[in-house]
Amino acid sequence: MPEDAETLLSLYRTMVTVRKFETLAGELFAAGKIPGFIHLSIGQEGSSAGVCSVLRPDDYLITTHRGHGHVIAKGGNLNRMIAELMGRKTGYCKGKGGSMHIADFSLGILGANGVVAGGFPIIVGAGLSIKLRKTDQVAVCFFGDGASNRGPFHEALNMASIWKLPILFVCENNCYASTTRTSYACSVIDIAARAKGYDIPGISVDGNNVLAVRQAAAEAVDRARRGEGPTLLENKTYRRRGHFEGDPQRYRDQAEVVEWEEKSDPVNRFAILLRKKKILTKDLEDEIAAKIDSDLKKAVQFAEQSEWPKPEDALEDLFINP
């Protein structure tokens, strides 16, 4: 579909923000400023930016342990995200969730989920709720290739199909489920082929081509809003970092990572396209980068200056009526 310059630049800004956020998170983790574990989505920005660009603020989204990009692309607040990663009281979840459990219900972000495939049953409920409330919202569930091997994926596609729920299932096939190659663990080459078993559309696209992702997501979202039911969209991409930061990655040759980076970096590919179209000039590129760097620097300052939660805060937020 033809896109105006403003839309294209907005997509570009989102992708660069995700890339810079993830790079920064990796650095903060290496510096010991982020406790626990983090899972980065570097190399997968085409998927997060492309899909979320067609969503409305009142649409729902559920994501995974590798979910920073989706939260950012849906409008998540960088200060509160970094503060949550660093375990501060001002974080999205007051330090109770961390990287794997960021949510912002005011933006329709029903949360990142630490259980692989944990989002499927919940997104069916969001879709059902939309249908019962008779609104034209859409619910999006991001997941990885690994999750498509779990039972909840299959139950959810079946239920969403029989009830024609307004759901977009977005598989980010990044070639690895933790340390296991997708080609070993999946019975199909295209995860999208699994849609056939549930009589819904299944589409595979080059997930590192943000415009291809956006186009496919737009069609699926329109279909869902029209009440025609769910779609399975597979964004083929590549996980450039380890499963988690610190993963020794004994299961792959680093040459493979370099090859993907050189041939199919989603941010570079889109930048090249925008430069060709004369939409992205060198000055604008620098200006966008500087603005994002400055926002992220402020976010880190915000987090570092934020209080730690009081130890006894651990006993709050369990029940509304204890």
Binding site: G125, L318, I320
Partner: protein, 326 residues
């Protein structure tokens, strides 16, 4: 408030009818609901009264519970019918990892008004996969409220309260008690969660029980009265939050206690009760607190086997005589 004699099943239908009339965001989701009225006929009449709000599902426990949760997070107030409590195993992630934790791990951003209604219990020859009493699994999962009613009035009052909760509730309804009848108030009737009921006064021993254990206990109490032992019977009704105050008041009068539940002995809720009593009421005890529970095996099929495994009236009488030294 006037009362009539009705069954637990009728009490369920009455609570649901009243609450669904009052609150249009309540809906019921599960298997075999619309045409069958629920596997035990407990929802008869509701599909006609509330078209579109009683939703039949495929056999997909994972997504049944998960879809209830997703709906609860997005403005609805679902009641999930799990068919048999045993099937919690097929939805354990959705119950224990998701429903119980979502509010907490997201820093209290959201409420989770969700009732998981789970018919449990043995005594029907249904064998190991359709007979369990699994409440202690969920007691051990922070983030869930656990309700186990016995009499029809409790069923109505506690189901009404559960439907008005903004926190997730797992509601265990014993299958053998659906037909039990008793006086139930007409109209709006709410029993707040976390309130036990002293259902019989006595000075010699306190019997702590819930669910099917209550009916065994009232049988045993008649026999004990014949022996000159007057038991105080506390029906806990809600296990989490637990009304320990009522337990403590009774024990400070009787100095003795027996716990009765149908779930198997080891790691059962009785263990938690005994631990709390010994740590908080040790100075008031005149004898060890005993537990009457099922034996530590899966529920077997054949009637003599099942009867042997389940706790009995005789077991309660024996335990009470032991703690009262009579």
């Amino acid at each position: 408030m006037s009362e009539r004699i009705i069954s637990c099943s009728a009490a369920i239908a009455e609570a649901l009818t009243e609450e669904m009339t009052r609150e249009e965001r309540i809906f019921i989701i599960g298997e075999d609901l619309v045409y069958h009225g629920g596997i035990f006929g407990q929802f008869k009449g509701l599909p006609e009264k509330f078209p579109g709000r009683i939703i039949d599902t495929p056999i997909s426990e994972t997504c049944i519970v998960g879809s209830g949760l997703g709906a609860a997070l997005t403005g609805m107030r679902p009641l999930i019918d799990l068919h048999f409590a045993d099937f919690v195993t097929c939805a354990m992630d959705e119950i224990a990892n998701q429903s119980a934790k979502i509010r907490y791990m997201f820093g209290g951003q959201v409420k989770v008004p969700l009732v998981i209604w789970a018919p449990d219990g043995a005594g029907l020859g249904a064998a190991a996969h359709h007979s369990q009493s699994l409440e202690s699994w969920f007691i051990h999962t922070p983030g869930l409220k656990v309700v186990v009613p016995s009499e029809p009035a409790d069923v109505k009052g506690l189901l009404t309260a559960s439907l008005r909760e903004d926190d997730p509730v797992i509601f265990f309804q014993h299958k053998k008690l659906f037909a039990k009848e008793g006086p139930v108030p007409e109209g709006e009737y709410v029993i707040p969660l976390g309130k036990a009921a002293v259902k019989r006064q006595g000075n010699d021993v306190t019997i702590l029980t819930y669910g099917s254990g209550y009916y065994l206990t009232i049988e045993a109490v008649k026999e004990l009265a014949g022996l000159g032992i007057e038991a105080e019977v506390i029906d806990l009704r809600t296990l989490k939050p637990l009304d320990f105050k009522t337990i403590a008041e009774s024990l400070k009068k009787t100095y003795r206690a027996v716990v009765v539940h149908e779930a198997c002995l080891t790691g059962g809720f009785g263990a938690e009760l005994v631990a709390r009593i010994s740590s908080e009421l040790f100075d008031y005890l005149d004898s060890p607190v005993l537990r009457v529970a099922a034996k530590d095996v899966p529920i077997p099929f054949s009637p003599p086997l099942e009867k042997f495994v389940l706790p009995s009236v005789e077991d309660i009488v024996k335990a009470v005589r032991q703690v009262t030294y009579r």
